[in-house]
Each structure stands twice: as structure tokens, then as C-alpha cells.
Amino acid sequence: MIPAAFEYVAPTSVQEAIALLQQHGDEAKVLAGGHSLLPIMKFRLAQPKLVVDIGRIPGLDGIARSGDTITIGALATHDAVERSGLLREHCPLLPETASVIGDMQVRNRGTIGGSLAHADPAADYPGAVLALDAEIVARGPGGTRTIPARDFFVEMLTTALQPAELITEVRVPVIGKGTGTAYVKHAHPASGYAVVGVAVVLEAGGGTCRRCAIGINGVAGKAYRATAVERALAGRALDEKTVAAAAAHAADGVDVQGDLYASSDFRAHLASVYTKRAVLLAASRAG
């Protein structure tokens, strides 16, 4: 499959990239690792007139800690996130999530910024950034703004980004002692995408849940926080029966997607089962 013809430009600064996006509006698309954009261009689901390749902009792929926040550059590959010692120690949810994206070759090219901007509901990062209350930093013609993850995903393949805005970094909190995290996924057997993926950040003490945040991708048209489960768990014992009862609310209030592989009923069932597993796993790591 061959993409439709397009013009290509590889700016060397964020400023230059934004100017190009501003100038070309809807006719331009941003290319980072290319593992979301190029497949849809090959299917001709996207036919941009201009491709702005930000892959050569220096300084956008770093992972660094500042106080209680870890900043991940938009161009950090899934492989870099998976193998970051800093993240493994202080925010292991992201490396755990990155490690189950696609395969080695995909993780070598795909980027965190590209995946978030594409906003595929079956991608793996959305649940994790929601559960972490991450912030997505975007730069546009009007300057830099910080978008809380909960405001970022608008609908399927649609985010709060403006047409001339670019994600420059993602900020996640340092996970402290007493808090456990987990990402558990039912992968589609052919594509590897999440049929259901559940990310949990859980603060425990004395065998009870002090606070938990649960982000779910793959189930609905956009990733969401399972607030009904979070409420049902707050202050409760973290035994299997209690967790299972709470996890039964994993798909409450969402329009559950159905497809050839998993009907909406089956997917809702999977959402409960995987939420239970993810909560129990996070609880076991909260020590």
C-alpha cells in the first residue's frame, strides 16, 4: 500500500513546526515515529497535503525528574519509556504499559506523544495517563499550556489539541511508598491492541484502599476513569470479594464498544474481570 502523494518537511525546532501547522491548517499532519499516522496514510484514511516530521527536532525525547514530577519528552519511544531506570523506579506504571505495546520493532519507533495525540481508544497509554492524573504539555501559536489527562481525550481519535498545537511533553507524578500501580491488558490476538486495558494507581494502608485511580482503555470510544469503581473501593478492604464487587462497576455509564472479536456484553465482562485483576495486583505492590 502506498500513501497518497504529499509534501514533506522536517523542521528542526518546535517553533518552526508550529508555524508550518498554523500556515497549513487541516491539510498538515504531524509525523513523529509514524506508527499511528503511516498506517492510516497507507490505507488512505488520511491524505494530508503536508507531513511535518518532528522526528528530527532535538531535545524532545528526554526523560527527567524535577521534584515530584517526571517529565517525558513527546518523542520518547515506547522502548525508551519501557527501559527508563528513572521511570521503573519512580513511576513503574508507564514502563509496564509501554512494555505491552505492539512488539519490539513497534516500540523502537512509536512515541508517547504520537500515541497520545492519535488517541486510539484501544491504545495502551491513555488509561495509564488518566490513572496517573498526568499532564500533557502542548505548545501552539499562543504559547504553552498544560492539559490535564482527564480533559485531553475528547472522543475516538480526537483530543483537546488545537490544529496548530504540538505535544512537547508528558508530566507524571513520582509514585511514593505505599502506592502500588498495575496495567493489565487483554490484547487482541491478532493486532495486539487492547480489547480491554486497565491501569490502576492505588494507595493502601492497613489492608484497605485509601485512594485509587483507575483508567480504562479499549472498552469505550475513548479512555475513561472508572469512577464508580474508585468510589466503591475507597476506604474498603482490599480482599478479593470486595474488589470483585467494586470491579463489577468497571463499565458503568459508558457506551461499551462491540466488534467481531468481542461483543459489548463480553467486553463489559472483561472490563470487570481485568479491573479486579489490576486492582489486586496494584494492591499487592503497594507494600
Binding site: I2, G34, V51, M104, N108
Partner: protein, 164 residues
């Protein structure tokens, strides 16, 4: 508008004018004539088009040739040196790591990064390392054996063959 790219493939530097939409795998096969890199699914799934770009395994059906401007590439044609098979090639030969051979070039280049990362992988690590490469003939066991053979050889050990 065509773009001038310059890149090194298996140690040889090439310069060409290419259309932006030219996929790297088509550049390698059709422009350079290096047809060892195969096109299987064309959808980033099967791994037949796997090459190394700047030392990392990538699926060249999902990279634009212009993105590889300035890069160092390694394809299956660059594995053997001075007529000597690479240990991974030798492993596939000795352990019957292929039947039809279509997946083999991509499989070997995925195996190369796997062994560069983990010189002494467990069977589970080998299977995880080649999860992005599909084989419809072998059932994978002989591929795993081939990679274990190569791992031993690359570590400087006697590359004893797997019991069959």
C-alpha cells in the same frame, strides 16, 4: 517534490532523490535492489520487512525513506562477512529455522537485536523478542532453537545443536 536522501546500507553509502511517500522497504527493494528484505502484511504486523535502522530493529514498511535520511541501515544482505555466515544465519541453517524462508530475513534481524540486548536469553525471552515476526511454517520451535544456537556461538561457546 522529491527529496535528496543519503544513507548507509550494509556499509555502503547511497544518495538518491525520492518522493516523500516512498516507503523505506520499497526504497531498499526497488531502488537499491536489495530484495532480501521482504514485504509480507504491509501493515506493521508480520515483521518480514524488519531491518536495523541506527542499530534498532524496525519494520521498514512503516518508515518513510525520507525518515531514514542520514541513517545507518543493516539488511539481511549485510549479515554475512567475507563469505562467512553470521552466527544467526548459521543457527537457522543448523537448526532448520526455516521452511519456506519468507519470514527468515526479518526473523534474523529481530533475533539480532534480541541477542544484542540479552546475550543469554531464556526461551520465553526469545519468544517475546520475536513476537513481532510471524512464521506460518515452522511453529516457531526450530526458530527458537536457531536463536539459542546463535546465542551460544555469539557468546563464544560451543554451539551444540538442540536435541530433536
Amino acid at each position: 517534490m522529491k527529496h535528496k536522501i543519503s544513507l548507509t546500507v550494509n556499509g555502503t553509502t547511497y544518495t538518491h532523490e525520492v518522493e516523500p511517500r516512498l516507503l523505506l522497504v520499497h526504497y531498499i527493494r526497488d531502488v537499491l535492489g536489495l530484495t532480501g528484505t521482504h514485504i509480507g502484511c504491509d501493515t506493521t504486523s508480520c515483521g518480514a520487512c524488519t531491518i536495523h535502522m541506527n542499530g534498532k530493529a524496525v519494520k521498514s514498511c512503516t518508515v518513510l525513506a525520507v525518515q531514514a535520511d542520514g541513517a545507518q541501515l543493516l539488511t539481511v544482505e549485510g549479515l554475512a562477512r567475507d563469505g562467512q555466515l553470521h552466527p544467526i544465519q548459521e543457527g537457522f541453517w543448523e537448526e532448520h529455522g526455516l521452511q519456506c524462508g519468507f519470514c527468515t530475513p526479518g526473523m534474523m534481524l529481530a533475533a539480532l537485536e534480541l541477542l544484542q540486548r540479552i546475550p543469554d536469553p531464556t526461551e520465553e525471552q526469545i519468544r517475546a523478542g520475536i513476537e513481532g515476526n510471524l512464521c506460518r511454517c515452522t511453529g516457531y520451535q526450530h526458530i527458537v532453537n536457531a536463536i539459542q544456537y546463535a546465542a551460544r556461538k555469539m557468546r563464544g561457546e560451543e554451539p551444540r545443536k538442540a536435541a530433536v
